[in-house]
Subunit: 417 residues, 4 copies
Amino acid sequence: MAGRNFLFVPGPTNVPDRVQRAMVVAMEDHRSSKFPELTLAALSELRKVFKTERGTPMIFPSSGTGCWEAALTNCLNPGDKVLAARFGQFTHLWIDMVQRLGFEAEILDSDWGTGAPVDRYLASLEADPKHRIKAVLVCHNETATGVTSDVAGVRKALDAARHPALLFVDAVSSLASIDFRMDEWGVDVCVSGSQKGFMLPAGLGLTCASEKALAASRTARQPRCYFDYADMTKANATGYFPYTPNLPLLYGLRESLRMLLDDEGLENVFARHRYLAAGVRAAVLEGWKLPLCAQAPEWWSDTVSAIVVPEGINGAHVIDVAFRRYNLALGAGLSKVAGRVFRIGHLGDLNELMVLGALAGAEMAMLDVGVRIEPGSGVAAAQRYWRAHDPVPHQRVAHREVVYASHSTGSTEGVKG
Amino acid sequence: MAGRNFLFVPGPTNVPDRVQRAMVVAMEDHRSSKFPELTLAALSELRKVFKTERGTPMIFPSSGTGCWEAALTNCLNPGDKVLAARFGQFTHLWIDMVQRLGFEAEILDSDWGTGAPVDRYLASLEADPKHRIKAVLVCHNETATGVTSDVAGVRKALDAARHPALLFVDAVSSLASIDFRMDEWGVDVCVSGSQKGFMLPAGLGLTCASEKALAASRTARQPRCYFDYADMTKANATGYFPYTPNLPLLYGLRESLRMLLDDEGLENVFARHRYLAAGVRAAVLEGWKLPLCAQAPEWWSDTVSAIVVPEGINGAHVIDVAFRRYNLALGAGLSKVAGRVFRIGHLGDLNELMVLGALAGAEMAMLDVGVRIEPGSGVAAAQRYWRAHDPVPHQRVAHREVVYASHSTGSTEGVKG
Amino acid sequence: MAGRNFLFVPGPTNVPDRVQRAMVVAMEDHRSSKFPELTLAALSELRKVFKTERGTPMIFPSSGTGCWEAALTNCLNPGDKVLAARFGQFTHLWIDMVQRLGFEAEILDSDWGTGAPVDRYLASLEADPKHRIKAVLVCHNETATGVTSDVAGVRKALDAARHPALLFVDAVSSLASIDFRMDEWGVDVCVSGSQKGFMLPAGLGLTCASEKALAASRTARQPRCYFDYADMTKANATGYFPYTPNLPLLYGLRESLRMLLDDEGLENVFARHRYLAAGVRAAVLEGWKLPLCAQAPEWWSDTVSAIVVPEGINGAHVIDVAFRRYNLALGAGLSKVAGRVFRIGHLGDLNELMVLGALAGAEMAMLDVGVRIEPGSGVAAAQRYWRAHDPVPHQRVAHREVVYASHSTGSTEGVKG
Amino acid sequence: MAGRNFLFVPGPTNVPDRVQRAMVVAMEDHRSSKFPELTLAALSELRKVFKTERGTPMIFPSSGTGCWEAALTNCLNPGDKVLAARFGQFTHLWIDMVQRLGFEAEILDSDWGTGAPVDRYLASLEADPKHRIKAVLVCHNETATGVTSDVAGVRKALDAARHPALLFVDAVSSLASIDFRMDEWGVDVCVSGSQKGFMLPAGLGLTCASEKALAASRTARQPRCYFDYADMTKANATGYFPYTPNLPLLYGLRESLRMLLDDEGLENVFARHRYLAAGVRAAVLEGWKLPLCAQAPEWWSDTVSAIVVPEGINGAHVIDVAFRRYNLALGAGLSKVAGRVFRIGHLGDLNELMVLGALAGAEMAMLDVGVRIEPGSGVAAAQRYWRAHDPVPHQRVAHREVVYASHSTGSTEGVKG
């Protein structure tokens, strides 16, 4: 098929050209005297993304899932109890891992489309005076339903209950896209991966452990080796890794960090995600007049929107037509919401026109399978929102004096074709 | 700025990923015993694009302009007369070159927005019984106004007048996008470049000479060396070049030819360009209700549309806002139509969603500078056209049995995040 | 520093240009209906590399180390006993992992420089009539000492002792470079990675499990989740992965497999490695007159040679000068042999001239730190060997008739510069 | 064939990885308001390479040959006379172009293997009191014979004769590798290309015109258009080009200029070329005991060496075996020296080990076709030279404290494989 694929699943996200270039590297000796420069700079810059000064970032050769496992096996002892809410496929899967690794889970089941139930977390913590709960799990952004949760609220619940449990946060689809604050929120382990806000291929598990988490890991007896924090931090201290790292991803990460921290700026990145997400929501709610899976504005995610299709329509058909007829990749509804929603991932290296292409494509696919929406209605709603809300107007100044004045144009075109 | 630039100038066009990959090559000895494989295959495949069996394709290390010069200096003698119509910036420039190289030009000036005036060509040829006109120049697609001309008609005029002049055609922005037929239309030199329908960076002048043109070149006395056909064809015969060629472009050309000829198929490429262009015209004429510069449907170009902006609006402002605010590159109005039009290039590696992003961006830019159009109107008109006119429905079959059925989705998502 | 780094550590190895190109891919939806093509073809082709028809290959997003862990945690129960020989850093590390994961290890300590002691394996197995040993670990190629072991011999020992233990083989630095035969040798789990013979960056754990190993995994109770065979094989069956895979590596693997299996052919790959290794050994033993760490020819590795430096010389100095002065990366001596050896990795995408550059560089570095060798002696010895032992003379036929005949050359040079 | 090709023709040269990366760019609008940044910076930096403050650099979309033509057609009038020496294939070809374009050439034929005969230039100039000679042509580095000429000497001859002729210099295979001084030497047009010292693919003609040359071009009447200086300088003044430029090459040039000027430094680049060339000459003269085509040390080229093969040996056979058996590309003998020499290009992005690989390969190829040299003798001679003449010892300091000390090595290797 001619032309580019429009990739609007919530990860992997588009790799920017400059990151793509940065990954075209010759292999090199990862034990050379020069290598530590790369490692140490990456770890240092990662701290800024996690917003931590006291935490220890680590880069595992794994997907984000591996860092879920690392958090559990490094900080807990066999049979330990954890508290976790379940309201989507990824909250479900982390709890499933908890149980398979032999830990006990106290599960707070909530409606899919709602976020972390802070009150119920508080109630469970208060009901645990003996502190049998060793860790509290929160998913910052549930990718399956497009729901962002109040991590700071869960921290407040822990504090209110004077409960010493560790706070583990899944920030796979929020870190580097939605504001996350490791130190301020008192997060003990944050888990993420390279293929979402970092705009890289999958393959790096990016995680960060607080001093409290590292202290726990020193005595925890759950068997582990590949994901051992001690091996990693010991090698990292001198700029090395306990195993051969993926060099293209490390060089890509260096470039991605430059883009996020130095060029666009992390707060501008968050603002852009909010701005693009608001345009998508305008398209869904005002243009198409369809509901979001996220049940209230407090839970709207700035990285992914799950759109509920009308009765009688299968969301999977929308996705299938979008992919095969229009070269547009949308996210499927998973498990409990399979068929009932389709998802638009709007995170990473995106701008208005890319999202407009996707919205226009989703419109065509919906129309093709029988959803009654007005053609162009979502596009027009997003256009209206974006025209009225430029997040960086100061960056729109001319690169230099405008050269497109009507008379000069002929001369820049010059004398040849 | 985050996200991709939307490149909708009529060249250079987007380089497909697989062509981009093909160009990442180590340098090699261009005089090795292995090298001719590459050259000979490329020249052989180029014949199919020119639709010629008897013509001789050549690849010059130059822009397309260089091949204009090659046609004139190889086939003409000092002071020779050529006949050419002028109705846009590129027809103007070729005539300017004719005069600067010391030839005489009989110029048929026509309205910008019309195409080659076949009747007037015929009249001029009939008025030249002594055959002082040695070459007739036609621009197959005038990039500045979005006008496609009737090359076959000019051939018929030559035949009707029994005139022996050579027929030179500028197909820079049509070859490999709009049907062109070297042998059937009796074209003597066709001139093109790599950066339009071939989906490559600029840098290769792609041209083809008929037997009659090569015969003329053997006796023509206009001074020339760099662009000499004899040097090129002699070296090409054994698979070499008279100078060091640009290897990335040659490898890119090999891949581009595979895409055009083997994978999509040339007729499907033409059909896709017609289909995408028709959607753009639906947006302009039915959605935005703005006129095209091309004055009649017979001249509508399938590779570029020049849109006339309303009185009081400067087309250059639309382009400027599109570029700086929305990261959309549109083509400027040149020379006589500077400020009065903006151009959308719709050629090369494009699909519906890419064009919809551009149309949506052009809408926003027009609205921002005060053009009164309905937001989303162009998008909706193009959507309607494309939903009703799928050019390759047989290619939309599922890659394999649809896997997005609602129940299976959960399982493909698997047990991990 | 100008020019290319000469990478002669035993992994990561040089990525061939065509694999490099194949990895420059846009991200895509790894749950699309099209994606399984890639997965299923890769798994099918991997079977040929493992030389198995009944085994099940798996691709984990990890380094090779992760597959060590996967073998142990999927097939064993808590407290199970394994039998393993230790004669180098990597045999040491796998045993260390065994112990850290809570299994019991019966360790056969051997001299560093020798290989797997088949007789002692046999003795231990015969001394275990109650079959407390559940798995036997063998390192096919000990990267730290340049020693290849007799895996088939260990299988014979198991058979002779009629012992049902599983046979786990570390083939990280041998697979796709030195002949390995999963089915013929009755291997139950083979562990490897992408960054050696597969000529890719690190990041893919490539492993293969026999039917017997998979059967064991169905009942094994060691906690595991990330590396669970059942999750992986279930998702793989339909062409998917339980987590987001690294797409560049998967596309790179596809290209690497084409090179290994289709273009060069696996047996030719092995022959080339033998041929290049023999040249290196000629340089070391005949040219430089230095001993190898590998104590006998039966243990010489065709992928890595560890060279023992003379008394009074620190191998680390050779490596340091080679890297900083000559841009040559050599492998360090590890642990017990630190300082006593330096290593030349000679695996992956290599040819004679690349190795000669490395040999010449090692000579200069040795001379610079005081090793008394004859300049050029290693190079000359390798040259002699290779000139006398072309492994693929039939592939040296001219690409076409030789064009370098003295008179034709001028004409191919053509008329321009 | 496995492994890298060793490219030792005198152009195209190896493209460094970072330049390769820099060329992987998406197409963009070359008439945008942002584009001039790229053009203006490149032109400004090029001045430093030409060592000119008053000259005007230009970048033509052509090979270097095109800039030969540009020099002649822009600065001369029909029938003008030029003075030029001929002592190799490329001096021959430029003179051939002079004649084909209709100019008159006074030719100073000299032995192939000698350089520009300064005395004879002087004599001819003094014998031209009426100044019929309008331009003097000198080849700074004759690629065919490996001869560097004394351009400053020719300038002195012009001055001594008080002759106003323009001085045109072919610096195709010297610029950015061997010291060239436009202003100091009073050069009027310098001609070069991208594929030699600039370490880029072919495709950019890089040239520079003095004020005197530009003044001449304003009145010169030779027909020209594609290569017209006025069109180019007019468009360049605002940062544009008269035709669509090759964007990958322009971005590659930017990176190449950074490497040459900012990172290595131009004088260090020259020193490295001298140092590597001296090693090659040690191999040829002391190791192999073969003569160079260049007849005296004053003419030895630091970018290419032509080696004379013994009687009875065909140099083309050496080249053929080197290419097909050892994947080594050597330069052929051209025209008068066809069969009598083979050439080693040693310019661009090279280091000692790359050259040693090539020398070792040339040794094997020579031995295979019957040249009686001592195996390893050239390698040993070059090693000796380079070990004694490190050009940048201050750059060899450890990147950081040496980590290869014998005891620390084990720990950097870490606990995993």
